[in-house]
């Protein structure tokens, strides 16, 4: 334990503003503040009992027993009330069920990540579907030509429609049921259609207009239910497309605006402030960052040579009075950064530190070889005159390239220094996942 901890604890206790660190008194503190009334993300039926249990500090099982008992008592009470002719019979059952629905609707789900799954254990759509199936069976069994409308047919329609709606509106968001929601919907629609189909001829033969109308309505519902998903999917896809197009348009509008205003201003600042000044350096770095964001959509974590070189350039421009231009030709974006990037970084650090001013990085990838050239405009130096103790160029550029199976060379004269790096393509790794996009992004790659 560090010395600071006890002191902090003592201070907290003295202030009384924080719960004391003593673990024994923690439950007492927790019981004072009730957890909020929220339904968990993973629920049994609706999460109402779980929410109540957590909020009140009871066990879930007990709350469930009480809830079921309440409904049972209310139902019993309602039955008795109905028997003796009390008009409150429905309200009595309704009260408990209403409380349940009330909490279901008003108690929010536990907050979490927006894409965190919300699941329930009870397959409501399936239960409704089974109930609809039973009702449909009842319709077929209990069918009497004397009845004004087939018993159970309305129930079948309502239950199947409920199952359909539930699996269409709620289940798609639930990873547990999303898989078979389409099948549930198809069966529900087919069930309604089947009942309608069986009712129709009989109703027509026996001349029962109401049954015939019901049958036709069922058939129409079935058709609608079967046709709706693909139609809806198409509408959703189209509106998503439209939204994406609108987003793109807005983005390019913003890009155009920033291009005409901010980027111009940054360029003017760089020009007016002079190449080597602090202000120009910041403006340059800012410009690069903004430009990358606006146009390239570059992934800063892609481990390819092109991205790596640009990242190194940006970092060095912030630290040193230097302007680094990175030019890439061929599918440099498909080359794993590795030793080439390491050697190039060393060369660039040298150029930024000793030469400054304008530095050009040229990277070219052909099918046989990858080359990187780093050229600065400094006073130059004699590479052979660098003392052995200095690792700089000799070890970290030439040595590194040799170890990687390539070559490194340094030429320097009064006009500047150029570091030349060369690595056979077979010795260079392939950047993961960027091979296809890397070649497609370059016009030359498609020749």
């Amino acid at each position: 334990m560090t010395a600071a901890e006890p002191a902090a604890t003592a201070a907290d206790a003295a202030l009384g503003a924080f719960p004391p660190a003593d673990p024994a008194s923690a439950p007492a503190a927790a019981s004072r503040i009730r957890p909020p009334l929220v339904r968990p993300r993973e629920v049994f039926l609706a999460g109402v009992c779980a929410a109540l249990a957590r909020h009140l500090g009871f066990r879930v099982g007990r709350v469930r027993v009480v809830a079921v008992a309440l409904v049972a008592v209310a139902a019993l009470f309602a039955l008795v009330a109905a028997r003796i002719g009390w008009p409150v019979s429905l309200a009595a059952v309704g009260a408990t069920v209403l409380l349940y629905i009330w909490l279901w609707v008003l108690a929010p789900r536990e907050p979490g990540a927006p894409d965190a799954p919300r699941t329930r254990r009870v397959p409501i759509a399936l239960l409704l579907l089974i109930a609809a199936g039973i009702a449909a069976l009842a319709t077929l069994v209990l069918w009497r030509s004397t009845a004004p409308i087939a018993p159970g047919s309305i129930e079948t329609g309502v239950l199947a429609a409920g199952s359909y709606l539930w699996s269409a509106l709620v289940d798609p968001r639930d990873p547990r049921f999303a898989g078979w929601a389409p099948r549930v919907r198809a069966i529900a629609a087919a069930l309604v259609g089947l009942v309608g189909l069986l009712m129709l001829p009989q109703a027509v033969i026996e001349g029962r207009p109401i049954v015939a109308v019901t049958a036709v309505v069922f058939l129409l519902l079935c058709a609608a239910g079967l046709a709706a998903p693909p139609l809806l999917a198409r509408i959703v896809a189209r509106s998503a497309e439209r939204a994406a197009a609108a987003r793109d348009e807005q983005r390019s509008e913003i890009a155009a605006h920033l291009h005409d205003s901010v980027l111009q201003t940054l360029a003017i600042i760089q020009n007016r402030a002079g190449a080597g000044s602090e202000v120009a350096r910041i403006a340059r770095a800012q410009e690069r960052e903004l430009r990358d964001w606006l146009f390239a959509g570059t992934d800063p974590f892609a481990g390819d040579l092109a991205t790596e070189l640009k990242t190194i350039a940006r970092e060095l421009e912030l630290e040193h009075a230097v302007r680094i231009e990175v030019v890439t030709v061929g599918d440099v974006g498909a080359i794993e950064s590795g030793a080439l990037a390491g050697a190039a970084r060393e060369a660039l650090v040298n150029a930024a530190r000793h030469a400054g001013g304008d530095v050009t990085v040229y990277a070219e990838a052909t099918p046989d070889v990858v080359e990187v050239f780093v050229r600065d405009r400094g006073a130059g130096f004699d590479p052979d005159a660098v003392p052995d103790g200095r690792l700089g160029i000799r070890e970290s550029v030439v040595g590194r390239m040799a170890r990687a199976g390539g070559t490194g060379a340094v030429t320097s004269d009064a006009d500047g220094t150029e570091v030349q790096l060369r690595l056979p393509r077979r010795a260079a790794g392939v950047a993961s996942g960027t091979l296809a996009s890397g070649t497609a992004a370059h016009p030359g790659g498609a020749a």
Binding site: A267, R291, E418, A447
Partner: protein
């Protein structure tokens, strides 16, 4: 002395550039949008127009539109594109319209003056990035140097032109390219001008596809 017209919609930039150019060239006028630029060019007949790529006015075509609308004067007036960025994408449209090169707005006054003189002499001004774009667009790096289906001569670079472009992309000045390849500066300039012509006239798929994508055709 070379007579220069500065076309840019930012007055601060125009003023700054005018000051920077100093006595090296003669600035005969300024214009802030496409229509004013076309008018001034027809009126003043400058030797070189320093032309911002992004310009308001006209049909919205920016600098490229100015060059196209002044096409009748291309023999007499030369255009040097000024771009806020190094990205070839910004510039190739103006180059293909007829500009003889480009420099970025962050270029120092002395370098701008040098580029103006180069362009006035009928030569082209290539930056490393434009050279890189040319190498990419003509598919030299991809190994299969341009399966020429149409105009052979316009659709690929000669070996020498490729070498020159590669050195420019590596940051070499014309003088350094010349000494590196043991040729005269004049020869380097000839190669660069020839590449510029190909860049302007080639119907290579990459260039036209690029232009189509940006609705330049």
């Amino acid at each position: 002395m070379t007579r220069v017209l500065i076309v840019d919609d930012h007055s601060i930039f125009r003023t700054g550039l005018r000051t920077d150019l100093g006595g090296a060239v003669e600035v005969v006028g300024e214009a802030g949008d496409v229509d004013a630029a076309v008018r001034s060019i027809a009126e003043l007949r400058p030797d070189v127009v320093l032309l911002d790529v992004h310009l308001p006015g006209g049909a919205g075509g920016g600098g490229a539109e100015v060059v196209r609308r002044s096409a009748a004067l291309l023999g007499e007036v030369r255009f040097l594109a000024l771009s806020v960025s190094d990205s070839a994408e910004d510039v190739v449209g103006v180059i293909r319209a007829g500009a003889r090169g480009y420099i970025t707005k962050a270029t120092s006054g002395a370098d701008v003056a040098a580029a103006v003189v180069t362009v006035a002499a009928g030569d082209a001004v290539f930056s490393p990035r434009l050279a890189g774009f040319v190498l990419d667009a003509f598919g030299t790096a991809a190994g299969a140097p341009a399966v020429a289906t149409r105009d052979d001569e316009l659709d690929r670079l000669s070996a020498r032109e490729q070498e020159v472009m590669r050195l420019i992309a590596r940051g070499y000045a014309y003088k350094e390219v010349a000494s590196h390849l043991y040729i005269s500066i004049k020869t380097v300039e000839t190669h660069v001008s020839s590449v510029l012509r190909k860049l302007q006239l080639s119907s290579r798929h990459e260039l036209t596809a690029w232009a189509l994508e940006r609705r330049l055709l």
